[in-house]
């Protein structure tokens, strides 16, 4: 094997309350594709951010071409020949393709003004090299996601990048577009570049990768040539940990059917989602990012229109056209995006807690502050919210405490059914445990819970039953005790046969 282009040794990175990466070493060979795999939160994105100069590692070193490097900004990483193609493209929609390719290093003439002709010519050459027939003068917003990826690749080539990182580049692409992308990857390989390929899809990994590195909880748990492993082995490597001890499951008697969803569909994102949910039951909804779980639940909650299907609560068919209909019926939805959809950061804790059922606190014509304070105090204590005072602005609290306040808001509506969408995403370990415990308590109190989570241990630790969605449809269902992590991940990724 030739000398590696890039090596990481002993790289660690922590954030308050989270150890994102611990003692990671890896090396990238010229002309080889290295797949980095792992569950959500395993540390893949952190590695990308360290390689591209967005994060600085707490410990460890990066060597490029044998020379030690310290990246203090994305610019440094560019200069060292590392380019990334991101999941969601980070480019400028209103600028032309050529301008996007040459952002930050536009060719200039002796006048120091941009040499537009030269820039267009070079852009056309770069695009031609990867067989991408995109006119350089087109505005980026006219392009499809796949074409935008091609522009990003051209941008990487314009920097003479020796390492090209692709972070889930196929997430939004059709089969044909994926074929095109892979053809270019082969070309980049042939030119002696090193490729880092991050994907959840096993068929792609086995098709394109030469080597793999498997991460779990920020640690490297396996590496080697891809030909040396099977899908089943990879899945086991990804999830392999004793999950049941982490989230003790409460023993809750499961009652009658509360919520019955039949053939819920919308135009594009999900179709024929059907399930029954019982009192005291926690139903896990597992799937890859983009499987349609959030979209289906937001349809159920009245945020986006549903084209087909019925929702019944306690045997009565509901007609939900807005979140307020859902709230009135007894359905709550705690959204995934806490900052934008869940919390109102510039309002106080009290104002957030009472927001979803303000009419309950009206005495006569006016809001009663004592009534609001009473509810805030009792829910805040129940969820162990840590704050200086109940008027404190939500923006001043930690992510975990913000999430507790958002959950308190939804409990204040006294729901029968609560949908929790990634309730522990981006919160610290302590708050996470508190939220997990609380979910168990909710079920014990007789609520029916839908838990959307991309963290398998969380789903397996808490749920009585797991429904797996893939590409907008329910593809499988598993009962507690009769499941394995491999089966669930297999169903979500489409690797079911091999893993079973």
């Amino acid at each position: 094997m030739s000398d590696p282009i890039l090596t990481l040794s002993g790289v660690s990175k922590s954030f308050p309350g989270v150890r994102a990466l611990h003692d990671i070493s890896l090396s990238l060979q010229p002309g080889r594709v290295t797949a980095v795999i792992g569950e959500n939160g395993a540390g893949k994105s952190t590695i990308v951010k360290i390689l591209t100069g967005i994060y600085r590692p707490d410990a460890g070193e990066i060597r490029v071409g044998g020379e030690q490097k310290h990246f203090s900004s994305p610019r440094d990483a560019w200069a060292a020949g590392i380019a990334a193609i991101h999941q969601e493209t980070v480019m400028f929609d209103e600028l032309s393709v050529a301008e996007n390719i040459f952002t930050g290093h536009m060719p200039t003439g002796s006048t120091r003004l941009v040499d537009w002709a030269e820039m267009r010519k070079k852009s056309a050459e770069l695009l031609k090299r990867i067989d991408a027939p995109i006119p350089p003068e087109f505005k980026l917003k006219r392009l499809s996601v796949a074409q935008k990826h091609l522009v990003e690749i051209a941008r990487a080539l314009s920097h003479e990048a020796r390492v090209v990182i692709m972070d889930e580049p196929t997430a939004a692409l059709s089969a044909n577009e994926i074929d095109d992308l892979f053809r270019i990857v082969e070309q980049l390989k042939a030119e002696g570049r090193a490729i880092v390929f991050i994907s959840h899809k096993f068929d792609e990994i086995f098709r394109i990768a030469d080597d793999f590195v498997c991460l779990r909880d920020g640690e490297k748990v396996g590496e080697g040539p891809i030909s040396s492993v099977t899908e089943a082995q990879l899945v086991r490597m990804m999830v392999g940990r004793p999950v049941d001890q982490v989230f003790p499951k409460r023993d809750v008697p499961i009652g009658e059917v509360v919520l019955s969803v039949k053939n819920l569909s919308n135009a594009t994102e999900y179709a024929d989602v059907s399930f029954d949910l019982r009192r005291g039951e926690i139903l896990g909804l597992y799937g890859l990012v983009g499987a349609g779980r959030t979209e289906a639940m937001q349809g159920l909650f009245g945020i986006t229109p549903v084209t087909r299907g019925t929702v019944s609560l306690d045997g009565r068919q509901l007609s939900i056209h807005s979140p307020s209909d859902a709230i009135a019926a007894g359905i709550s939805y705690v959204p995934e995006d806490r900052q934008d959809q869940g919390a109102i950061l510039s309002l106080g804790i009290r104002e957030n807690v009472t927001l979803a059922n303000l009419s309950k606190y009206v005495r006569g014509l006016f809001l009663s502050r004592p009534a609001e304070q009473e509810a805030t105090r009792s829910l805040g204590r129940r969820l162990a919210v840590k704050a200086a005072n109940w008027e404190q602005r939500l923006g001043e609290l930690s992510g975990g405490n913000q999430q507790k306040v958002v959950i308190a808001k939804w409990l204040a509506t006294r729901p029968k059914v609560i949908v929790l969408d990634e309730p522990t995403k981006g919160i610290d370990v302590g708050s996470k445990a508190a939220v997990h415990d609380f979910i168990g308590e909710l079920a014990q109190d007789g609520l029916a819970v839908v838990l959307i989570s991309s963290e398998l241990p969380e789903v397996m630790g808490l749920a009585d039953r797991v429904i797996v969605m893939k590409e907008g449809r329910i593809v499988d269902e598993f009962k507690r005790g009769a499941w394995s992590a491999e089966q669930i991940v297999g169903a979500a990724t489409g690797a079911a046969k091999e893993a079973a």
Partner: protein
């Protein structure tokens, strides 16, 4: 792996409210405005002996009450991250309608109803374009500003409407409490013009609705984070629509008061008011980014601006200088809290 966590108990006390701190209170916007208002009064009193005359002051309110009425609606719109730049054009359109209605023989009640009705229709049009068509309100109302004013100009041309019933014109000049020659000597009741009284009553209503009712809380939520507000079951579009209608309605009311006071109208009536009104709202501490503001602040800003203008005109200071002063005032008052934040003088709330 860690042992499972115990369910956390509340082992610490969370206060109901933050302890009051002197400098937080001092740097509240309303307090800054009160200081500004007092300073305005003191300076003007020193400079001109005629300033602190209740009759003069009462007369002075005529000049800003109509704008101030519209500013109340504008304050709520800006609070929820919208804006209505068509207000002055709505006043013109409504005033023209009042002019025609007066020629058709309507009485005062009918004329007020005509103005308010036209205002409501204009507000419905704006609100529809913003909420159902999903267009940005700044674009929509710049468009309708031109549209409503243009309609008025096309119909009226150089014409002026000058025929109004006497009872209507009387309302425009009237005091709710008349100046009294005699009466109870120890009880002094200042004269209050009708338009200013209407402004005071509306201020109280808007203040109570915004700060004491569930609807008011919802407006703060929408202004702070419209997406989270929608996820919390708040009918964001419906409330936004309603605010545009309220804004139009207030414009119609202001048009009636203004026409009655002036006794005539041309197509250029109330021209440029929209920026004066936005100035009142911004000086009143309503954040253009949404979610922050109080009716008390707007009320204080209205009084301050009104008295500054009045005081300067008493001293024969030309209008251009008044405008320079108001510009500086606005920038200074907006800068003070920001600078205080930067210096770390203020804490959360």
């Amino acid at each position: 792996m860690n042992a499972p966590m115990q369910p956390p108990e509340s082992r610490y006390a969370v206060l109901d409210a933050a302890p009051r701190r002197a400098r937080d209170i001092l740097l509240r916007w309303e307090v800054i405005l009160v200081i500004l208002l007092v300073a305005t009064i003191v300076v003007n009193t020193i400079v001109s002996p005629y300033f602190l005359d209740v009759f003069n002051l009462a007369d002075a309110t005529f000049n800003f009450s109509e704008k101030a009425i519209i500013a109340l609606g504008m304050a709520l719109l800006i609070l929820v991250r919208q804006i209505d730049l068509s207000v002055a054009a709505i006043v013109a359109l409504a005033a023209m309608g009042i002019g025609y209605a007066a020629e058709a023989g309507f009485g005062p009640a009918g004329l007020f109803a005509t103005g308010i009705g036209i205002g409501i229709l204009c507000g419905v049009f704006n609100g529809f374009l913003v909420t159902y068509a999903g267009l940005p309100s700044i674009v929509v109302t710049i468009g309708t500003m031109s549209l409503f004013r243009g309609i008025t100009q096309v119909i009226l041309g150089d014409q002026a409407k000058t025929k109004y019933p006497a009872e209507f014109l009387e309302l425009g000049q009237s005091y709710f409490i008349k100046m009294k020659e005699s009466g109870v000597s120890w009880l002094f009741i200042p004269p209050i013009p009708l338009s200013f009284l209407i402004f005071l009553v509306l201020t109280a209503i808007f203040g109570i609705v915004l700060h004491k009712t569930a609807t008011g809380r919802k407006l703060f939520a929408i202004g702070s984070n419209p997406v989270a507000a929608r996820f919390s079951g708040i009918a964001v579009d419906r409330l936004t629509f309603l605010l545009f209608v309220v804004s139009g309605m207030l414009c119609g009311l202001a048009a009636a008061l203004l026409t009655a006071r002036l006794g005539s109208m041309r197509s250029n009536i109330a021209i440029g008011w929209e920026l004066d009104i936005v100035t009142m709202v911004i000086l009143g501490g309503v954040s253009i980014a949404g979610g922050v503001g109080s009716i008390l602040g707007v009320f204080l800003a209205v009084l301050t601006l009104g008295l500054v203008t009045f005081g300067m005109s008493l001293n024969n200071i030309p209008g251009q200088v008044v405008s320079v002063y108001i510009g500086l005032l606005l920038i200074a008052v907006i800068a003070i809290p920001r600078i205080a934040d930067k210096l770390g003088l203020r804490t959360g709330r």
